[in-house]
Amino acid sequence: MLLETSRFGALEVDPNTVIIFTQPILGFQEYRRFILLPGPSSFLKWLQSTDSGDLAFILLDPKSVVPDYQVNLGEQELAELAATRVEDLDIYTLVVVPQDPSRIRTNLKAPILLNMKHRLGKQTILDNSDYPIQYYLSKSAERVASKGVPNARTDA
């Protein structure tokens, strides 16, 4: 199917690559189908809605900023995503990119869980964790760049 998007123009979407959200991204109840697209660097992805070409999120691999980032999920929640272990899931966090780059942040409290094998996803809330809803990336940006991200400039 052909999807007209505001960010990527017209996209040819293979229906087999569409991820169904069992629970919505909070506030986006009507948008349950997404595709994952490569982001501008290895630790970023685009989550493009196929219900609306205007809706896209930037996803971050949280381990790129918090290397020991951990998600504990109950059996029920894993089962909802047809998973048996947390390792079956790809875990991302949503990034907010405001005009002021010093306020770029990610939501570590409510990660996006994706089971890419079964094409299922959801946003969960880590009720028992102290991870912040607003984790500012400005301090860690330098650290990420120094890991040798392909697109990153070096100071050399």
């Binding site: 949503l94 907010v96 940006a141």
Partner: protein
């Protein structure tokens, strides 16, 4: 708003499968137990609202310039 008075250990049923139970009362705090199907997410309202607001901001398509800042952080002087 429907208002019901309940004592400790008493419940309210919402439909067939949601039970809201008053577990414990203290001067300034009430402990509430909720039994609901797993398909119905239950969250503290202020957390729910904060995450919803953050999600809405995440959905605002950022300018390419800002994204570039994220990928290529400004060089330190």
């Amino acid at each position: 708003m429907l208002v019901l008075t309940r004592k400790e250990e008493e419940s309210i049923m919402i439909g067939d499968d949601i039970e809201v139970k008053v577990l414990n009362l203290r001067e300034n705090q009430v402990k509430i137990g909720i039994i609901a199907p797993k398909s119905i997410p239950v969250h503290r309202r202020e957390v729910y609202l904060a995450i919803r607001s953050e999600n809405a901001q995440a959905a605002e398509l950022a300018s390419d310039k800002s994204i570039a800042e994220l990928i290529n952080p400004p060089e330190k002087k």
